[in-house]
């Protein structure tokens, strides 16, 4: 049977890491038994951010860097929606850096898949927040001199309850991580390493493929100190899998209005309550 989430022709370069990621997302949603109208895929702007254009779900293609605020608000509106943000490293960690930090603090039950190719693709090859030191680009002509951001470390430090890394070249593993992230109750970050075949000539498919290794069952992702150490590993070896996981109260559980599990969109009050409010001014 054809996957109900498949629809549209894409504008990505042949060999782009976005292809396996969107394939895995479609498979994940299908295998989780979701229906297209129950899912909202939100994005900002960028190559990865075109994901909602190419998948048959509700789609919110917002502004550059601003996918998280819109996505979390949609979840506040209707908790029955499965809300997923698929967008890039520039969108998530650069333009949207402030939203990244503060939505971890909110812990709204959404999933954030960051397509991390360590480069700006849509604007044709400038350094991204995760670009490695020394990367030469049309702007960083003498090589990138700014420390790359470690999104996993930042997320753990900010208090995220689900922090994982995956690689677009390990599809089965990616699907497994995607499922766990979507099922996690709270904000889940998955930093997905992916090659950019056109603009990142350093961090290629084989560069990642040589380095990534799957975390085994003996790795305790509930131990924060372990997780911090693991999150810092990004050199000859790069761990993929769940780096840190902790159950914590979600925004909906913490918020007095939302904690009754009735979607906000279905709540209403009668006029009498409003009219009573006028009385205190008389």
């Amino acid at each position: 049977m054809a996957n109900q989430f498949c629809t549209y022709e894409t504008a990505w370069c042949p060999g782009c890491g976005n292809f396996p990621i969107i394939d895995c997302l479609k498979t994940t949603l299908e295998e989780l038994g979701k229906k297209p109208n129950e899912v909202l895929v939100a994005a900002g702007i960028g190559q990865a951010a075109k994901t909602p254009q190419y998948i048959n779900t509700n789609a919110f293609c917002g502004l550059h860097g601003r996918s998280l605020p819109a996505a979390v608000a949609a979840k506040i509106a209707n908790e029955k929606l499965t809300v997923i943000v698929n967008t890039g490293d520039g969108d998530s960690y650069g333009e949207g850096g402030n939203h990244f930090i503060h939505n971890i603090r909110r812990n709204i039950d959404i999933t954030h898949f960051v397509h991390d190719n360590q480069i700006y693709g849509l604007t044709k090859g400038q350094a991204s927040p995760t670009s490695m030191l020394g990367l030469v680009t049309g702007v960083q002509v003498d090589g990138n001199i700014n420390e790359p951001l470690n999104p996993l470390l930042l997320a753990i430090a900010a208090g995220a309850g689900f922090v994982a890394r995956a690689f677009s070249g390990k599809k089965e593993h990616l699907i497994d991580i995607m499922k766990q992230a979507i099922n996690y109750k709270g904000y889940a970050l998955v930093d997905i390493l992916q090659p950019c075949v056109s603009f990142n000539k350093v961090n290629t498919f084989s560069w990642y493929n040589k380095r990534v290794y799957e975390l085994k069952d003996d790795y305790d992702y509930t131990n924060k100190i372990n997780a911090i150490t693991k999150a810092m590993e990004f050199n000859d070896k790069i761990p993929i899998g769940i780096i840190y996981k902790e159950n914590k109260p979600t925004y909906h559980q913490k918020n007095k209005i939302l904690s009754d599990n009735i979607p906000l969109i279905d709540k209403s009050i009668n006029k009498k309550i409003i009219e009573d409010m006028f009385q205190e001014y008389i």
């Binding site: 909202l40 293609c61 502004l63 601003r66 608000a73 506040i76 709540k267």
Partner: protein
């Protein structure tokens, strides 16, 4: 009509004293109008409230005083020149003033004797009630509205003590306003939003807009509203848009600086056709400007903010009734035409309290997006229609998928670069303005039908213009009228053209330095303004100020 000033340093309790006193006066039957003049500091400096009350309608503050309640010497020094010869200065016995109008009371000693130095404000209230021939009959019902339960009794005693240590000086006047509301512009906006069906309010704190968020938060439990303090204004507006996309009646609010950060998302609401209500409570700019003061200098900005072209609506709030009813209307227009509606308020209107008829919401029915789709055709979020308005479904409420895009898009909502689709989509969006034009409300016309001098203003100078036109017509050989715009962009032109044709001279009166309304009017119709009265010192123009300025320039 009487006019009182309560002044002192920040932290001395002026706000609570004024709030209790003005409510007592309103409860006694007076029409009350009060304003605040506060510095951007938590302690020290000089702050004051003006409370004007009488038996007739009052729409503006006045700087001519019948009484000063001075909590420090500085207040007396700064304001005694505005005090009438027959006026009084109520102050503590320890203040240095030798003004013959001073009524010195041992406020601090009396308060200490009662066991709490902070009740001196209540002693003053008691004394003022006596001075104006009032009774203590309403203090038992009014005081608990403003004072913590455990402190109510001591404050009631303090009021009685103050009442007993002064003599009546002015006559009580019988007013008919005891059943009216006494409410600020800020609170009226909050209640308007709630009445419109608000479910989500998000903002980043910024004076003078924060009071709206606090007022809604105070009612969030009863009204089932989620209030979320955003990490910045960019997040706030994008959250409001995301919630609106998902079907919630949502709103954000800020002042000019925060609005500057929201600008890109304003255009997003425009192209993605997601209903959005934003309130800009103006303060003097640019940049940080004068944070706690007032100005009308964002009109040029908000009517053109954001790149590209898209339909929008700007409504200026003129008074506390507008603040309520126009906020409701903003939600309804935003939903109906699927566009951003910007409400323009300012510090003066937000912080002023006026006496108005109790809000009536019998005819208010919140507009909602569609929750059903039975059409046999494929659902198209951006379907071309004669009105330009496409059916708006929300995600998850039907079996359709809803696709919205900040890129130019086709009818389905998907990204496109087709020249043909681009033209059609721009036309579709702009076509919505045709419907909107029919909904525009003409400006308020004030004054004599047979006028020859026409004053033109907008927003919160409405009250001052009301008063000015009345005084001018009483005093002058010339005949005056005013047009005050609420709906301001797109500019309603019918009444304007009619009245302009009759005017011998036209004067624009605005709280900005460049005459932004005059500029907008001249874009639409060819007229010459004989004069401009422009005020940009951060303090609101009063009716008297307008009269004096017109007389001075004659």
């Amino acid at each position: 009509m009487y006019n009182l000033l309560i002044g002192g340093a920040a932290g001395q309790g002026i706000e609570t004293t004024a709030a209790i006193l003005e409510k007592l006066l309103k409860t006694s039957g007076y029409n009350v109008f009060s304003t605040k003049d506060f510095m951007s500091r938590v302690r020290g400096g000089h702050n004051f409230s003006l409370i004007r009350f009488g038996t007739e309608a009052i729409h503006s503050h006045s700087n001519v005083l019948d009484g000063i309640i001075a909590l420090d010497d500085n207040t007396i020094a700064l304001h005694k020149d505005n005090l009438k010869e027959t006026g009084f200065i109520l102050c503590d016995a320890n203040l240095k003033t030798i003004d013959t109008r001073a009524i010195k009371i041992d406020l601090n000693t009396m308060a200490k004797k009662l066991g709490n130095p902070r009740v001196s404000g209540s002693i003053s209230i008691g004394a003022v009630l006596k001075l104006f021939g009032e009774t203590l009959q309403h203090i038992n019902t009014v005081v608990p509205q403003f004072i913590k339960k455990e402190l109510v009794n001591i404050n009631l005693t303090a009021m009685a003590d103050g009442f007993n240590c002064t003599e009546k000086k002015f006559a009580h006047l019988d007013g008919q306003y005891s059943n009216y509301m006494l409410i600020s512009g800020t609170k009226a906006v909050a209640l308007g939003a709630i009445a419109a069906g608000l479910k989500f309010y998000t903002a980043y704190p910024m004076s003078p807009s924060t009071g709206i968020m606090e007022s809604i938060a105070a009612k969030s439990d009863k009204a089932q509203i989620v209030v979320e303090q955003a990490e910045d204004e960019i997040a706030a507006i994008n959250m409001a848009i995301g919630a609106s996309y998902a079907g919630l009646c949502s709103m954000t609010g800020t002042s000019g600086g925060g609005f500057s950060l929201m600008v890109e998302a304003l255009g997003f609401s425009g192209i993605a056709e997601i209903p959005l209500v934003v309130i800009d409570v103006q303060r003097p700019g640019p940049a940080t400007g004068l944070p706690t003061r007032t100005e009308q200098s964002d009109l040029d900005f908000v009517r053109s903010a954001s790149q590209g072209e898209f339909p929008r609506m700007v409504i200026a709030l003129r008074n506390q009734e507008d603040a309520f009813y126009q906020t409701i209307r903003a939600f309804s227009l935003a939903e109906k035409y699927q566009l951003p509606v910007i409400l323009l308020s300012d510090q003066y209107l937000g912080d002023s309290l006026a006496t108005i008829k109790t809000f009536d919401i019998k005819n208010v029915t919140p507009q909602k997006p569609l929750t059903q789709y039975n059409d046999r055709e494929k659902y198209l979020r951006y379907k071309y229609t004669p009105s330009g308005i496409s059916p708006r479904l929300v995600p998850g409420k039907t079996d359709q998928v809803v696709i919205v895009d900040s890129d130019e898009h086709d009818e389905t909502g998907h990204i496109t670069e087709s020249a043909d689709v681009r033209n059609k989509m721009v036309d579709k969006r702009m076509k919505k303005l045709k419907g909107l034009y029919h909904e525009l409300l003409e400006p308020d016309f004030i004054g004599r039908e047979d006028f020859n001098i026409l004053l033109i203003g907008w927003g919160s100078t409405w009250g001052a213009l009301q008063e000015a036109v009345t005084i001018l017509n009483e005093q002058n050989k010339e005949k005056y009228a005013a047009l005050v715009f609420g709906d301001i962009f797109p500019l309603p032109k019918k009444l304007l053209q009619e009245k302009v044709a009759q005017a011998k001279a036209i004067i624009n009166i605005e709280q900005n330095a460049t005459g932004q309304l005059a500029k907008l009017v001249r874009e639409e119709i060819a007229i010459t303004f004989a004069d401009s009265i422009l005020k940009y010192d951060g303090r609101q123009i009063s009716g008297e100020d307008i009269v004096n300025e017109i007389m001075r320039r004659k």
